[in-house]
């Protein structure tokens, strides 16, 4: 009987330790700062993670590409000109931007899944609050006897089952691995070197547009044989294209640190299991804490440093 009581008490204290572990986990993983950073990134990327927006960017690339093909057929403007640089670099720029857009487009669904999760800033509290409940109930169970201990033990099991169920309720088993895949896909894009490259590419396009507008088209009168319709369309639409591209580049540049913070979190696919495993353990410990007969159970020895609960009645 004493052995059984000892095992029951050990199970209760083990559950308490797991609860404290859950409380400590967000601090250990730096989630209090990283999770809000992830939330900010999600908010700032949201305008660009839409099919319509991305199709508009695709159409913009097509406008620029048509102008490139048209101007490439013109006599050379000089090797040092903005247009020459554009003609030299556009095939690479086009390939890289198209790849980037298709990568982003492929992750729209995953992004929306992440966005449908509870707010990122709340993530640490999904560990802290159940952890506090488990630790508190564990303490209560450890200090209880008889029917009170039985009730608290079942309360522990109920909380544990809730923790196990949480990932399923929030569809984390699908969304978290998808989020991990999105982070993997975005990792090559969200580097300082890549952002600098995109900024430079933007200027190559912008400089070429300037030369086409102020020089090439200025020399090509509307009634001349060289009409350059694709170039005129590019020049006409450039302010709008620039107004769409610039904020997107800005959003990427502004979120480099936020992305790094999210990337430094444990892999997203692990997150459901951060709930399931502790929940299973606590549930099992709660069940294992069952005494042979409630009346036989003595209060477990309380560590000297444990808080003393005083009744006011």
């Amino acid at each position: 009987m004493a052995e059984r009581t000892r095992r029951s008490n050990a199970a209760v204290w083990a559950a308490l330790v797991i609860g404290l572990g859950l409380v400590a986990a967000p601090a250990v993983f730096g989630m209090f700062s990283r999770a809000p950073a992830g939330g900010q990134m999600i908010d700032e990327f949201a305008p660009y993670m839409r099919g319509g927006t991305l199709r508009s960017f695709d159409a913009d690339l097509a406008v620029i590409d048509a102008a490139y093909k048209e101007t490439k057929a013109l006599p050379p403007e000089g090797s040092a000109s903005s247009l020459a640089t554009f003609e030299q670099q556009w095939p690479r720029i086009h390939d890289e931007m198209a790849t980037m857009l298709s990568t982003i487009e492929a992750n729209v669904g995953r992004f929306n899944g992440l966005r449908a999760l509870p707010p990122f800033w709340a993530f640490p509290w999904f560990f802290v609050l159940p952890g506090l409940m488990i630790a508190g109930i564990g303490l209560w169970t450890g200090r209880s006897v008889g029917s009170q201990r039985e009730r608290s033990r079942w309360a522990l099991v109920v909380v544990a089952v809730s923790v196990i169920a949480a990932p399923a309720v929030f569809q984390m088993f699908g969304r978290a691995p998808a989020g991990a895949a999105m982070i993997d896909d975005f990792r090559p894009l969200m580097t300082e070197a890549n952002i600098a490259q995109i900024q430079g590419d933007f200027l190559v396009i912008a400089s070429a547009e300037g030369q086409l507008r102020t020089d090439v088209l200025a020399r090509s009168a509307p009634d001349s044989l060289v009409q350059l319709p694709a170039t005129r369309k590019f020049v006409t639409e450039w302010p709008r294209i620039a107004a769409e591209m610039a904020p997107m580049i800005g959003a990427m540049a502004d979120n480099l640190d936020n992305f790094a913070a999210v990337d430094a979190l444990p892999a997203f696919w692990l997150f459901p299991w951060f709930f399931v495993f502790p929940g299973l353990l606590v549930a099992a410990l709660g069940l294992a804490a069952r005494p042979s007969r409630p009346a036989d159970v003595a209060p477990s020895p309380i560590p000297a440093a444990a808080p003393v609960l005083r009744s006011t009645t």
């Binding site: 903005s82 600098a196 900024q199 070429a208 547009e209 300037g210 302010p239 107004a243 580049i249 502004d254």
Partner: protein
Amino acid sequence: MIKPTRHALALALTAVVLGATACGGDTGSPAAEGSEDNQLVGLFRIAAGACEGTELQGSYFRMVQPGGTLDDGPFVANGDSACADQTVTPMTPGSDGGLRTGVFQAQPEPAFDAAGNSLSGQIVQPQKWFAVAFGLATNPTDPQAEVAAAAPQIRADGTELTGNLESLAASWNGQHFNQGSPKPGGARPGLTAGPSGTYDSATGNYTLEWSSQIVGGPFSNFTGIWHLEGTFEPGTADQEDS
């Protein structure tokens, strides 16, 4: 409690008056007319920039690419610059004639037209930059960093100018870029430096230059170099407000 005697009060007042007179002894100069603790409060009227061949005169703007230096660039070429060297964009004085110190020349509301051109035209006339016009304003709340900023301050130490232009922001294509030095809060990231310049108190002629690295946004880590020159016209903060 010790009460000052009438004699001691008179002595103290005399000392204050004498001290103030000594500090403001150069009252005939434009600097002193607009100054408080050597502060030049008034209008830094801008001489328009102009390019003649390879020569550049007056006020201008240029932008250093990330990783570059203030002296050697590489600089961003603005296809809309009228200069042979398109890395410099000449500036033309705006509706106020230039940059005011001691007060803000805040951006209008809305700050842009439908095409994204800046409507901030008090300091300089909006200038085309990659097909879309940029403007300058000094705002009590920086529109990019969204933090409070102080009104422009320039002080003269002899013929040398220093100061604080943290509230200066450029606006372009729906975007805002703090272009002050220091930045709001006092930081000087990257190539941010100045303002510094020269001042001739007899004529009011000045040159003022500063650089400001962009923090965040599509041109993050690019650095704007601003060169103003012209004539300082003293005023008071009250006059500037009115």
